[in-house]
Amino acid sequence: MAEDLVLDTPIRDWVLIPLSVVMVLIGVLRYFVSKLMRSFQVPDAKIVKEGQVIVRARNLRAGANFIPPKSFRARRFYFSNEENGLLHVPKGQSQNAQAAQMFSDPNMATDMMKKNLSMIIPQTLTFAWVNFFFSGFVAAKIPFPLTQRFRSMLQNGIDLSTVNVSYVSSRSWYFLNLFGLRGLFSLILGEENAVDDAQRMMQMGGGFGFDPTKNLSAEKDSIDIIQHEWALPKFEQRAEAVLRKLVH
């Protein structure tokens, strides 16, 4: 086991602090750039309607027992009949159509490009910059001991198994900043403007290949199998119980 490493103060002044400051500045810059590039996009009527249909169908599923059986059956027919039900997806209109539409719409493609570019370019650049200038530094030490499992998180870029795990390498410091600055951004850029990298990455994963028609048919299936059991008759007894308590 190695002795305690002594971290040079210039490392703090020239690695640790500059890295954090640069990350913050890049976040702010990116916010403004994305604000500049943000284009107002008129939502597509069909997509909006599909979303609303799904919300309403979900409401029907959740509250089905609160409306009389006749009303429920009428609604179910409205949503899921095979001719023109709102949730019924014609066979010909499969995912291909959706994908084709996505790629044929240049606006959508460029919008996605812009979003991704504003995220990927600064990220790769900063990562390259950190790698080039600061690789291999031990930049900080956390004041408590940690188990070996944290080594890959905190000592990315240092291939030494003998260094105490509580030391943080510069590259790991970069990653910690990348994912941990959200609170700070929400402070300086306002609540809703926080640039959240982690969230964006998730969005990116889900953004491609999303198919609303699949949602529709899934919702249709679950509406088809609901057993409607009117809850209101039970309420009479419950009301009686309530009143009995109230009167006596």
Binding site: Y31, K49, G63, F66, P68, S71, I188, L189, F235, A239
Partner: protein, 310 residues
């Protein structure tokens, strides 16, 4: 929906602001966030901020330092409140300032159209809304404003048409369903209103007001089946409000007696349980005894007449 804690917070802030304790900006922010309608207060306190350059300049840091658009949001809020209070001049001034700063803005265009609407120049307002819709046919605010203009002109069928068209796309908007339900009730189109209330119950099954309104509509429609359903919904209202809703209690009594009258000649295989009615009547009498003893005799007489007829 405004929760209880939010409401008390709003009340507290309102008191504080009214008594000169400061915090006007926080109050306005809260009003905006909760989307409550306090137009007179907003107008009063908003104007006091806007007319005081010192206070206005402090708006920036209280928002956040990057977006100093708190001031413009305030202008918009005050303009809308002023239109609601019919202070057309104030609204016009606010909108003028906004227009100067955002010459191209659609949002300001919306305000201008609303100003026309507030002034009562319907034709011009409708033209403005239509041109706004050309740019964005799915602008919910503008679509709703069109309904409101139609209604304000007394063109109820036009309003219904607009609302139906709106709901065709935005069918999960329960406020619109509610508006439509109320319009239908006002036109005595109870079947349509019943459908709308069903939709409201579906979207918020635990709001007793919708159960109550639905029961009212069913009771008004009449017929044995509807009356039985109405009684059930009155019962659910009682359950959801803990028996505190007088209208629901009366409703149960009325429904039971009406059902009794209708079912008199027929076979009584499914005997309505009379206990609910007597309990409701007892609850009513107790309630009146506590809160309005002078009217107790009236209530007892009315309830007795209901019981006799059943």
């Amino acid at each position: 929906m405004v929760t209880k804690t939010e409401e008390t917070q709003l009340e507290r802030l309102e008191n504080q602001v009214d008594n000169g304790g400061g915090g006007a900006w926080e109050y306005l922010c809260l009003v905006r966030k909760l989307k409550v309608r306090r137009s007179e207060k907003v107008l009063e306190h908003g104007l006091s901020i806007l007319n005081d350059p010192k206070k206005r300049s402090t708006l920036g840091p209280e928002g956040d330092f990057v977006s100093s658009n708190a001031e413009w949001t305030l202008y918009e809020q005050v303009a809308i409140a002023a239109m609601d209070c019919h202070s057309i001049d104030v609204a016009r001034d606010c909108i003028k300032v906004l227009r100067k700063n955002f010459p191209e803005s659609k949002r300001v265009g919306r305000l201008e159209a609303m100003l026309l609407e507030a002034k009562g120049s319907w034709a011009e307002a409708e033209k403005a809304y239509s041109s706004l819709l050309e740019d964005n046919p799915l602008d919910q605010v503008v679509l709703k404003r069109k309904v409101a203009t139609a209604k304000a002109q007394g063109d109820i069928s036009g309003a219904i048409e607009c609302l139906n068209k709106y709901l065709e796309t935005f069918m999960a908007d329960h406020d619109a369903w509610r508006e439509l339900a109320e319009i239908y009730v006002s036109l005595q189109m109870y079947k349509q209103a019943a459908f709308c209330y069903e939709e409201l119950i579906l979207s918020q099954p635990t709001v007793p007001l919708y159960h109550l309104a639905y029961a009212d509509v069913l009771y008004t429609l009449g017929g044995l089946e509807n009356l039985q359903a109405a009684k059930k919904y009155y019962a659910s209202t009682i359950d959801l409000t803990g028996g505190k809703n007088t209208r629901a209690l009366f409703g149960v009594c009325l429904c039971t007696s009406a059902i009794g009258q209708l079912a008199k000649g027929r076979n009584k295989e499914e005997k309505e349980n009379p206990e609910l009615q007597s309990l409701a009547a007892a609850a009513l009498e107790k309630d009146y005894k506590q809160r309005a003893p002078g009217k107790l005799s009236l209530v007892t007489a009315a309830l007795k007449s209901l019981k006799v007829s059943s």
